[in-house]
Amino acid sequence: MKPVLVTTVSYENCDKPEHLQSIEIIVSNTSTANMTARSNHLLPTGLRAVIVASAFWLLSLSLTVVSGSVAALLGCGLACYLAASRRTTDALSAIRTPVLLGAVVLLSLLGLLLASSMANSSLTANVLSPITAFNSAEFIKWLALATGTTFVLRTLAQRTGYGAIVEILFVASAFVITLAAHRNGMIHRPFLLGDYAITRGIDPATILMAFGCAAVLALSSLLMIENNHRRLPYHFAVLGVLCLSLLGYIQLFGLPTPQLTNDLGLTGQAQDGRSNARENPFQDGENSAEDREAPVAVVVFRDDYEPINGAYYFRESAYSQFNGTMLDFSSHRSMDQDLLENFTNTRSETAQPPGALDQRRSVRTTVGMLVPHRSPFGLATPVAYENKPNPNNLRFKRTYDVESLAPEYDYEYMIGRETGRADWSEEVRQEYLQLPDDPRYGELAQQLIANLRPEFADDPFAKAWAIKTYLDENGIYSLKNEHAYADDPAGSFLFGDLTGYCMHFSFAATYLFRSIGIPARVGIGYSVPAVNRGGGSSLLVQAVHGHAWPEIYFRDVGWVIVDPAPQQTLVDMTTDPQNDLQQLLGDMLRDEAAFEEFLQSQRTSFLNLTIILNSLYALIGLTLLVAYLVKSYRLWAPGHSSPAQQYRVAYRAALDRLAGIGIRRKVGESREHFARRVAAKSPALLPLTQAHLDYALGHHSERLDAQQWRQLQSQVAKDIQQNFSPWKRCLAVINPFTWLLTR
């Protein structure tokens, strides 16, 4: 308070107007308060600087080159220092906040201008090299940006009540923006972290969770700095416990699952066999395309297989029974017996394997589901399912092997074939021919097959192909449609604008097939373009691949997918190939020695942890061994050394024994004082110390013989035996470093 008084006094004597005086006093008052606060709060200020700087650095990482990031870090530090140093704040204290902020923003803009002119002018590029010019331009740009922003934030925080909140929001958004790429199951993103983790064989999730914890800690410490920093350690401890419990939660219950791709009824809780109720598979309005890249599952191919029609079809289930309004999961016992509907803990095989085995290839695949599904899906046509141990509980909801008999025939193979299965009852066959009571289906179908060449006029496949061609040529693929709430969405689509998505196409085609007596159903599952596999053995199934398609049963062949492919499309359903993620998940699922080896090799190239650890273990072992040797030598020596050395060796052994149970001389304490101090616990130490000092400080003449020395020494051991609990003595025996405690 002294400076304030001085100011008051000095201004009382001069001719300033009164209001000015009071302003001066207030200014000096706050600055003194700040001064004391600052000197006391050096640690919080530094901590805040570190947090803001790291937030800025994080933000800059994805947006600029290394020089830019370094500049961001430096700029933040500089601004924090400026904002905290008394010289600047005192100098600037007279300037009003808006003016000051405006000036800072202006300066930053000047910096940005300079940077852009540097990067754009050919002069700098010629004088320096283009790369240097760019780098230095980035440096200046980010320096200006970081310094300006941080200074504005700090000034606001210092001068206004709400400033701290802005600062915290800034730090939080830096974390959020950086980590946002990770959402929707893109576990390998942001690449910055993902690559770092994967090349070192760490699950990126761990690093990200650590990041999250760091963010929480940083934010909360920022918050607490603003208030009472004295309780900081306590709060930190509580927060740490919270974060750790979050980790524990994830270890126990797994990562939260994105609720995705339920449009087709593919995902959800595993089917329990009783409830077949489902929601309307036709979606209204605009289907959300936001999450479409989210990975749903990964499939690892154990056998070589390449589909002939350019897409892998994974069948999960089928809509086959007409329930009066639309097709639904069949409730009829003898329908769809080829499907594997339930997850089982053992191997289960299909009841009706397909035919044409000579035209099929047996393919073994392993599926890792990232999202829970109603039923297992497998490469068409799956014949056996077998549950597999989950290599990564954190990542995979369920893993299983599927054996498939994948088709290798082309469509000509169907020409001339009958439809329907031979052992179907008439009832079942009729179920597969049910369709809405709408004559237009039959009429349109007849119209479409009317133009077939006479030799194919009766051929079911040719008829089906004509219908598919019609849909290919006239249908318009779009996620926006207005058929969802029509009584018969498929009819609304087919006889309306022919604009819809796979559900509409597949239902329409199925009804058309059925109307001309071809047993058909809608298969649902995933259809993944063959190019996505990219030559690897793993295939990523994403939400966007969810698909529905019409299928026809050809006698002795099985369910054959006849999938309309509309030539006009209003929506871009292509996605960027996710090769990294595909490979990462595939490797995770494969969980083979090769992958471990790969990780191992990555580790070796980075830092050979094993060797370091092993040598560390060896070192520790050696240290322990040496320590035990020394320990036992020192206890053994009194019995075997010369009488002249006894005074030293015997006394040392006694001290070692005492040090083992935690009794040791304090630094600077004399030996006799120590002996008197522990006399209650070990009376024998007193005469031993006496004898020891007699010899060491005295005439070196008053020798006890070796026997006496040993007796005194062992008396100490006996004292210990009597006066100390067994566990303490046990610890003394185990501890290899007792001799280091001896003084």
């Binding site: 006394y651 600077g668 004399s670 030996r671 006799e672 000092l693 060491a696 400080l697 005439h699």
Partner: protein
């Protein structure tokens, strides 16, 4: 080599060992006798001065170590009784041809108007012999109690201190030696400083110990009251020691009690630490260390040792250095400063015994 010669050699070796042992035993006996003399002295004094065993011990250590003590105390704490008892416990040798001017005990009450000659003695003209003869002052005694030494002028103080340092008195260019046993117990009141001439540090350096006396404990104080009468008549009945016995003890202890090099190293290291310590304005002199050595030896002997150990240093160092060290302004706790500076050298001393 024949068996005989072997035996001869063995016998010779035995003899040698015996000789060493004999010397050992001899010196041990002598040391034991000296310690017995000191214990007798201590007992005698202790029976007259109750509850002051530590001060008595320190006084005897100083006496035997040829030093002087400064007692800081308040009136009526028994310092005169102590000095008197000590003086009376040491009797002159019967057969001595010693100076008859030397008395067992003298007390000087210092006042501002005291003159040096009042202390040392003065030449007086004897009209019968027509010559000056020296009238011995009160310094010519075994034990001198210099009461309230800070109340007299620096002139008298320096005369006194010369006598203490040199064991001689010079009057009119004639030097008169003081007794070998000359021992001063000076006192000063630490509180009542009005009208005093405080002793400067260099003069305090002449005193081996400065002892602050606290009030004696309750039991001892009760004892003092209870035995007040009986102790008055004790004087003649108590055991005494002779002056020559004390002087012999001084010599024997000096010869027989070993000071290990480690002890000396520790002392020097402590001094050096103190001199470089920021809390200390002026460290102790080398002389203080030299003076301290005999005191350490006596302390060791009194504890039945024939070597100086860390215990002796811990006992005596605060008393020896307490008045020799000038602390920096603002530092008050001399014991803390000493403790800090002693820790490391004492640790080295303790470690030296095991290496």
């Amino acid at each position: 080599m024949t068996t005989e010669s072997l035996i001869d050699e063995a016998v010779a070796a035995d003899d040698a060992t015996d000789a060493v042992t004999a010397i050992d035993v001899n010196s041990k006996e002598k040391l034991g006798e000296s310690v017995a003399v000191l214990n007798t002295l201590m007992n005698t004094v202790q029976q007259q001065v109750l509850g002051r065993n530590e001060v008595i011990e320190l006084a005897i250590i100083a006496l035997v170590a040829d030093g002087h003590v400064l007692l800081e105390d308040y009136p009526g704490s028994g310092k005169t009784t102590l000095a008197k008892a000590l003086g009376e416990a040491i009797v002159a040798d019967e057969d001595s041809n010693a100076d008859s001017h030397i008395l067992p005990f003298r007390r000087i009450q210092f006042t501002p108007d005291l003159l040096p000659s009042d202390v040392t003695g003065v030449p007086v003209f004897d009209s019968s012999s027509n010559a000056f003869y020296f009238r011995h002052g009160p310094l010519f005694a075994h034990i001198v109690l210099a009461d309230e030494i800070n109340r007299t002028s620096p002139k008298v103080q320096s005369a006194m201190l010369e006598a203490m340092g040199e064991k001689q008195v010079t009057v009119d260019n004639v030097t008169y030696p003081l007794d070998d046993l000359f021992f001063v117990i000076a006192t000063q009141n630490p509180l009542d400083l009005v009208g005093t001439y405080p002793l400067p540090t260099p003069q305090l350096d002449r005193f081996l110990f400065k002892i602050s006396m606290d009030h004696i404990d309750r039991e001892a104080e009760l004892d003092v009251l209870n035995t007040y009468n009986s102790r008055r008549h004790l004087a003649g009945e108590l055991a005494t020691v002779t002056r020559s016995q004390v002087l012999a003890a001084r010599q024997i202890i000096d010869q027989e009690v070993t000071i290990s090099p480690a002890i000396k190293t520790a002392l020097v290291d402590i001094s050096r630490n103190l001199r470089t310590d920021d809390h200390v304005l002026q460290g102790n002199s080398t002389r203080s260390m030299v003076l301290m050595l005999p005191a350490l030896q006596v302390s060791a002997a009194l504890r039945g040792r024939d070597y100086v150990s860390a215990d002796d240093i811990e006992l005596l160092l605060p008393r020896v250095l307490g008045h020799r060290i000038e602390l920096a302004p603002g530092v008050t706790d001399i014991h803390k400063v000493l403790k800090e500076n002693m820790r490391e050298p004492m640790e080295m001393l303790a470690r030296s015994t095991l290496s």
